[in-house]
Amino acid sequence: MFEHLLQGFGVVFQPLTFALMIFGTGLGVIIGALPGMTGSMGIILLLPLVYRLPADTALVMLAGLFCGAMYGGSVSAILLRTPGTPSASATLLDGYPLCQQGKAGKAIGIATVASFFGGLLSTACLILIAPQLAKIALQFQAADFFSLSIFGLTIMASASAKNIIKGLLSGWIGLLASTVGIDVLVGSNRFTFGNIYLMGGFQLLPVLIGVFAVAQVFGEVQTKKTGNTVVEQKIRIRDVIPSLGDIRVIAMALIVGSVIGVFIGIIPGTGGAISCFLAYNVVQKWSKNKNQFGKGAIEGIAAPEASNNATTGGAMIPMLTLGVPGDAVTAVMLGALTLIGVKPGPLLFVEMPHVVYAIFSGMITIQFVMLGFGFLSAKFAPYVLKVPYQILMPVIMVLCVVGSFTLGNSLFDVLVAVIFGVIGFFMRKYGYPGAPLVLGLILGPMAEDNLNRAMLVSGNNWLVLLQRPISAFFLILSVVSIVFALVAAYKINKEEKKPA
């Protein structure tokens, strides 16, 4: 393993890869810091660049953006009292009060160190767990892969939507969209309506751009958002670096937050938004300074930040080993991987170990790069946060147009992006999450292909899906995830009906 890791470092420290890793991490910090912009959108904006690069270089850059965006959300949570990403929601509880006390630098410093620690620990878990899980997954057969696709879809649908039915519907529409085009099994046309452009099916890139980026721009037209009002404070770099005393105070929060983050990250369909609050609550209960929580306790910043960054490595475990993403950002990353010809799953570890170990080595290096960006962000973030949205959104729209055009030098792809942008806009408006739709589009062909193979092998015996233990296990898990989500929704409804 160490030999592979060293080879991975060899890739990471090649000038182009290293430069793009720094670029990806820096861009991630900026995108994460801007409220309303998410890591998913950052990855989408990089897609035209991604599929012109070698797979390992592209992946290291995307991993940098993922980690950078996860950290970046804390900067605006501290300076604006608005989390840049949902994962930083718990950081503002103590980050902003500390900022109001004139200690914005200290708050950003604690968030940076916690993110570094969480990211590093989760990378260690990724390196240790992923290859073992991939070995187990190599035993999977066609029926197991079909059930795994269904499990991936249901768990993401149940975790990413307030209403599980809407989450499932979103995933089902993605599956349906994946059937458009010439069928791969016998080569007949499906739902093309005589349009030659539809014969190749919906390409992933324009759909990703449409659902995540164009829909966001269309949504912002209604909000009339201007720039951000940043708390004016002179921050020096030396104020940002935490003292040894501070590190001692937050040590427990770092460990607890990171462990929670890794476990939550591994569960497909969850992510930083859940883990940050869980870590905050656990650390608050265990802390000697629980009365200080909500008033600027540094443990209250360290726990959620260590936790949300620890989900990055955790979320990559199911994505790399099973091809099932851990959260919305890894769902988009999964799409990016398929675009560049990398098929996540157990075979990735056998067929492309150099890519896997480049990601591992890259993730370690990224944490150090992020540490540097984190300390610098205290100085420069206030300027970035002042960029007017009225300029930013139109520029993003043009980048979306150009990005979708580059796929096949076709304006039809741009139209597909705009149409999916409109669909995504209405989905957001009425509470349908976008991630299951994209996942359905990615997993659809995999599910169909494996279902066909399972049927061929078993002589069209549908019970094979329940007779194979692994397949049955995933189907049971799918049902359990739906039942859990329904019970949770029932409880929430009951709470809402209670008179205040």
């Binding site: 599956l175 349906l176 059937t179 016998v186 949205y389 139109p394 729209m397 043009v398 150009v402 069209n460």
Partner: protein, 151 residues
């Protein structure tokens, strides 16, 4: 939480109708003896879509429609619709007028539409962003963006 039960009810019916259409279309596709044919998989999806659509409709119906749910206003919808329409026109016109000629005007309009009013910045952003994107995509990514071909 926003209550959108009326819309949910309608959407549920819409999903059911879509499922019926998909199922009927898939039923006419080629059939195979072994494995699954091109129509079988869409039929399974259509069945799932129908059930989910029915659950959405029945659930929102049983909960009852509130007298006033999401306050509907045409103004923001029209605002977004105009922006979408202009974006589609921009994409269509790009075939004739090209990226570099058309994009500064689109950017200028979009920035204005988003509410920004510093004219000099708007013009500068329009020109510089277009030139920057054109340069990066043409020189680094070697992508030929649409060119002016009206004459």
């Amino acid at each position: 939480m926003k209550k959108t039960r009326r819309v949910d009810f309608g959407m549920g019916i819409g999903f059911m109708a879509l499922a019926v259409f998909v199922f009927m279309s898939a039923n006419q596709m080629l059939k195979v003896d072994k494995g699954i044919g091109p129509g079988d998989y869409p039929k399974v999806i259509a069945a799932g879509l129908f059930i989910l659509g029915a659950i959405l409709s029945i659930d929102s119906f049983l909960r009852g429609f509130p007298k006033i749910e999401v306050k509907f206003s045409w103004k923001p919808v029209a605002r977004t619709a105009v922006f979408i329409a202009v974006t589609i026109v921009y994409v269509q016109l790009m075939r004739l007028l090209g990226f570099i000629f058309l994009t500064p005007f689109y950017l200028f309009f979009a920035i204005y539409y988003f509410g920004y009013r510093k004219w000099r910045t708007m013009i500068l952003v329009g020109i510089l962003v277009t030139a920057g994107i054109h340069l990066v995509f043409r020189e680094i990514f070697l992508v030929m963006l649409p060119v002016f071909r009206l004459f």
